[in-house]
């Protein structure tokens, strides 16, 4: 019940304030200026109520403006406020005395503040005391008196009299009826958006308003457009894999088929030997490649193919003099964590070569590879390799250059140049450089080449089939794209999830096509 009472009380205050708002606005519509102090006094209102109402009108917007002033003045003490209402003590004493016969003194002195009143009335010469009778009788000395004190208080109260140094005021101060006060008051004027017809705006549209239609007449507070909104709860994909999606999309747009690369463990045969990488090549060193202790070896190989691979390494074949060394079966059996996805490309090409009639193929993959490297800010033991290849009759190095322009154009890179390079399983081999407009220099963006006949012919391809291929890492271009310097800030358990959650959508913008 207390609550509902409180609500009723505050509602009535609101109503009062609301009607005062209207009055103030009406006053201002006909007057240039409103002085809160005098406005309150004139209407017998509490000054604080008037000031509060002005404040609430101001909060509605650009309706009125106010300016604060300070004034020294005199004010009535609480005691004086009683006198203002009831008359001065001396006046009351005088009035209490019947005009004809007087009154017994002890009875007179029972009136409130009779001592002060009696003394003041005596000194003003309004009374005479007949001490001959017992008890003494008090009689009027004059017929009528004016209550000058109350009149003065009235004048002070209505601000007619504000001079604190006036003789009569000094007198009242002595009687502690008047004191010096500081008044904070406001002068209020109309502002640009002045209107007498205002109501407090609503903060938000509600379902009730829509149903009742009250939104049509209601005022709405404008939204705050200078603060941030509240973030929705959301999940997100990893920044590196968003870039992977873009690369994957590019290959699919170019008609490439994705290779099944879900075999991280590979044997040395498919990872190295089938790619014409000699068994003593530095890449096969324990310093560079992760070998497995369990399961340590693979023993099942396509035997006929294995013999051809052995031959092309050890003694040469298919028009090649080979590397001329003692090729070891146990070396090819060793299981490794694949060092490149080209191991999968090799398996795919071998399968393609086993088909009865050759069909051209375009393959791609993006997946993890492993290197037993020394770790630093740009090298991890595992990274993602992007790889694409085309197998067809009589492909040329010019075709490779052409397809690389197409591929990198989709990544927004149009200025390419190619450097001769060495790779055991491609010849010619080309490093791909792109001019980076932001960094203002050429950066290496990938490797490419034509697979060697020593790799393709043992598989069973005819001599006129060529395979062009290229590869790059996923992490490096992503680090450049996002401006990340330490690879651990991009992948692995030390990544700051806030970075992932803030990461924008990844949209690799292709360059406009030539011509």
């Amino acid at each position: 019940m207390a609550t509902s009472k409180g609500t009723a009380a505050s509602a009535s205050t609101t109503e009062k304030s609301s009607s005062l708002q209207t009055e103030i606005l009406l006053y201002l519509s006909t007057n240039n200026e409103l002085n809160t102090w005098s406005y309150a006094k004139e209407r017998g209102l509490d000054h604080q109520l008037v000031v509060g109402t002005i404040r609430s009108i101001e909060s509605l917007g650009d309706v009125i403006k106010s300016e604060q002033h300070t004034s020294r003045s005199i004010g009535l003490t609480d005691e004086a406020k009683g006198l203002l209402r009831d008359g001065s003590y001396e006046y009351n004493i005088f009035q209490a005395i019947p005009a004809d016969k007087g009154i017994e003194q002890p009875q007179l002195m029972k009136l409130p503040n009779a001592n002060i009143g009696f003394a003041k009335a005596m000194s003003k010469g309004w009374l005479q005391v007949d001490k001959s009778s017992k008890p003494p009788m008090v009689k009027r000395k004059v017929d009528t008196v004016q209550d000058e004190v109350q009149h003065l208080l009235q004048r002070i109260h209505s601000l007619e009299l504000t001079d604190s140094s006036a003789e009569e005021v000094v007198e009242l101060k002595k009687r502690k009826l008047v004191e010096d006060v500081t008044i904070n008051y406001f002068t209020v004027t109309k502002s640009a958006g002045f209107s007498t017809n205002i109501s407090k705006p609503e903060t938000d549209l509600t379902a009730e308003m829509l149903q009742s239609g009250s939104w049509k007449t209601a005022n709405f507070k404008p939204k705050n457009f200078h603060a941030k909104g509240l973030l929705p709860s959301y999940g997100c994909l990893h920044p590196l894999l968003k870039v992977r999606t873009e690369y994957r999309q590019i290959f699919l747009e170019m008609g490439f088929t994705e290779m099944p690369t879900n075999n991280f463990v590979e044997n040395s045969f498919w990872n190295f030997d089938a790619l014409f990488t000699p068994q003593k090549h530095p890449a096969r060193d324990v310093q560079d490649t992760f070998f497995l202790s369990d399961p340590a070896v693979t023993t099942k190989f396509p035997e006929e193919y294995l013999q051809k691979v052995k031959q092309v390494h050890a003694t040469g074949a298919f028009g090649s003099i080979g590397y001329q060394y003692d090729w070891q079966l146990d070396e090819t059996q060793k299981n490794v964590l694949r060092t490149h996805t080209t191991a999968v490309s090799t398996r795919m090409l071998y399968q393609l070569a086993q088909e009865k009639t050759f069909r051209p193929a375009k393959y791609f993959s993006i997946d993890k590879v492993f290197r037993n490297e020394n770790l630093d800010s740009t090298h991890l033991a595992e990274f993602n390799q992007i790889e694409g290849l085309i197998a067809d009759y009589n492909l040329t190095l010019g075709d490779l250059i052409g397809v690389l322009y197409q591929f990198f154009r989709k990544l927004g890179m149009t200025k390419l140049r190619f450097k001769p390079a060495y790779n055991p399983y491609t010849e010619p081999s080309m490093e791909i450089f792109s001019y980076h407009e932001g960094l203002q220099r050429w950066i290496e963006v990938g490797n490419s080449g034509m697979f060697r006949p020593e790799m393709l012919l043992p598989m069973g391809f005819s001599e006129d089939v060529s395979v062009i291929a290229w590869g790059l890492s996923l992490e490096r271009p992503t680090m450049i794209l996002y401006g990340i310097n330490n690879i651990r800030d991009l992948v692995g358990p030390e990544v700051d999830l806030k970075m992932c959650r803030r990461n924008p959508i990844c949209r690799v913008i292709p360059a406009k096509s030539e011509e």
């Binding site: 003593k280 060394y325 040329t396 001769p420 010619p428 358990p493």
Partner: protein, 575 residues
């Protein structure tokens, strides 16, 4: 890729002109080299160019070879003709014991050499480069170079017990026995890496002259007696090896590079090597190889259209002497220095390099194919998007981890886990392939645990040992999701599972048995999970994974502070 350092002033002197750094960088780029760094030489206005050399071009691993190749490329010089002198040859005999440790030796002599301090320095540096690269840190081949005037042929190549070998090694004051010598060099910062090549053998390879002077203890150290200097006039080079082909390549490289400083440039004095079976082979073998090459095939491979004469000129610039036989046929001479030429395709490439890769007109292959996605990857991506849509943040963690990451930390023993083990990890972090995605995600939470809740997931491959597979192992594609908060939120992880099952159209199996739909089987416990808060996820009757609240021990092991619920399932059945 090896990198060599050459003084710029010497290089430009050899090239007969100066280049700006940019011009020389472009020349390197065109030839397939890389001007990697330019380093100041202290107390000098000269600088050193660090040039990266392709790993199969041993013939340009020194200033002499580099400048020779570039001068020929720039058509300012021709490929020299290497000849053998007809002087009576020095002989070297191989004794049978060597066959147990390091069976081959080859050798040759450079007569009347005039070294300068720079060329002598280059001679030493080339040996180092060859030792590092082609010789695979001396395991395959080791080079010994000697002042021939200090030793007396014929030489013998033997292998003897360490205690029987005693001599004063290079720059040492005292004689040492070979076993002591290896102990001594095991502490040497430069040589200690070679000690293990022979240390455990019962016999060590050693070369003696006819006065029993030790020339060298290959592949460790030479004797001090035959020490060379810039003043040495006659140089004896021997290469001991386990790979004869590489020994020849190394010997030929040393000879063809430095024979230019002989009084008769490019003339080399051979050495006769008597094999164990008594057969005598004369080294070096400087015979060129000849290939007939079709110009049409070159044009076809590269995508250019040059005539026979142009093709011959291009090949000559790459140190391959080519002569036109007819309109389509070149006779290409492959000098002994070009061991990288194995096949026609290498000749075609050299033609392309000289033509200029960047001058080749680009064409677009007409190959027309329809693109296809790998279904497992397509399904993975669809599931990844769905889990992210459900409010989870994707992590990307490492495939390799330590044994304890999948075993001890989950209250298990590694012997019971079908993990593949790495034989040569550089750190404890990479002992095995992960068999679960959990440790990576828990480590990610550890680094990010300030704000909660964390909803994290990953879709990636784990590796399992599987004897039915060709390599004895296979990948398996997993989804793992975690909810980390002050309250475990099992219902959130459970709800995610229900959501995924809805998306892959697998209904809930009320009967909790049979081969239909999915349900949770809570009949077992797992040390990774809190008792009573663990179940197997059964899909179409198959156990595809786990769901539950992680055990407080696991939380502690990963340095976490509040509870965590987890789901990990194999998603391959949904493909």
């Amino acid at each position: 890729m090896p990198t060599i350092g050459v003084k710029r002033s010497l290089l430009f002197q050899e090239l007969g002109r100066t280049y700006t750094d940019e011009e020389f960088d472009q020349l390197c780029f065109d030839y397939g080299l890389e001007l990697d760094k330019i380093e100041p030489i202290p107390d000098s206005t000269d600088v050193e160019y660090k040039v990266e050399i392709p790993a199969n071009r041993y013939d340009i691993l020194c200033l002499e070879g580099l400048s020779r190749a570039l001068n020929i490329f720039l058509q300012k010089a021709e490929l020299p003709k290497f000849t053998l002198s007809n002087q009576k040859s020095i002989r070297m005999k191989i004794l049978p014991n060597t066959q147990r440790i390091r069976p081959f030796v080859v050798g040759a002599v450079l007569r009347n050499v005039s070294f300068t301090p720079d060329s002598y320095n280059s001679f030493i540096k080339l040996q180092d480069k060859l030792h590092q690269n082609l010789c695979r840190n001396r395991t395959l081949v080791a080079i010994g170079t000697h002042d021939l005037d200090t030793i007396q042929p014929p030489f013998i190549y033997d292998a003897r017990e360490p205690k029987q070998i005693k001599f004063r090694s290079l720059n040492q004051q005292k004689e040492m026995q070979a076993d002591e010598m290896l102990e001594f060099y095991a502490k040497d910062t430069h040589l200690r890496r070679y000690v293990s090549i022979i240390q455990d053998s019962d016999v060590y390879p050693v070369i003696y002259d006819s006065n029993n002077v030790v020339l060298s203890l290959p592949p460790i150290i030479n004797g001090d007696h035959s020490k060379m200097s810039v003043k040495t006039k006659n140089v004896f080079i021997e290469c001991t090896a386990v790979d004869l082909h590489k020994a020849n390549t190394v010997l030929n490289t040393m000879l063809t590079m430095f024979a230019q400083y002989c009084s008769k440039p490019f003339e080399i004095e051979p050495v006769e090597v008597e094999q164990v079976d008594g057969k005598v082979i004369v080294y070096p073998n400087l015979a060129e190889r000849f290939e007939s090459v079709s110009v049409k095939k070159i044009n076809q491979r590269i995508g250019i259209n040059v005539d026979a004469q142009t093709a011959a000129t291009l090949l000559n610039r790459m140190s391959l002497r080519a002569t036109v036989l007819d309109a389509d046929t070149l006779r290409v001479e492959i000098p002994v220095t070009r061991t990288d030429i194995l096949h026609f395709c290498d000749i075609a490439e050299d033609c392309a390099v000289a033509y200029g890769f960047n001058n080749i007109v680009k064409t677009v292959p007409k190959t027309s194919c329809i693109g296809n996605q790998f279904e497992l990857n397509r399904v993975s991506d669809l599931i990844r998007h769905s889990v992210a849509e459900a409010g989870f943040t994707e992590a990307l963690t490492f495939t390799l981890c330590s044994c304890s990451d999948v075993a001890e930390k989950f209250g298990k023993t590694i012997e019971n886990i079908p993990a593949v083990h790495i034989a040569n990890p550089k750190t404890q972090e990479f002992q095995i392939g992960r068999t679960t995605l959990l440790p990576g995600l828990l480590k990610t939470i550890f680094k990010n645990q300030d704000t909660q809740p964390i909803q994290l997931f990953e879709v990636s491959d784990i590796i399992l040992k599987d004897a039915t597979q060709e390599t004895g192992s296979r990948n398996e594609r997993h989804l793992c999701a975690l909810f980390y908060n002050r309250t475990p939120g099992f219902e959130i992880i459970h709800g995610l599972l229900d959501r995924i099952m809805t998306l892959v159209k697998i209904p809930y199996n009320e009967s909790q048995s049979g081969n239909e739909g999915y349900y949770l089987n809570n009949q077992y416990e797992d040390s990774a999970f809190f008792p009573g808060s663990y179940a197997q996820v059964i899909v179409k009757g198959q156990n595809v994974g786990v769901i539950g609240v992680l055990h407080p021990n696991v939380i502690e092991q990963f340095g976490l502070k509040v509870p965590c619920s987890a789901l990990e399932i194999n998603i391959e059945p949904f493909v």
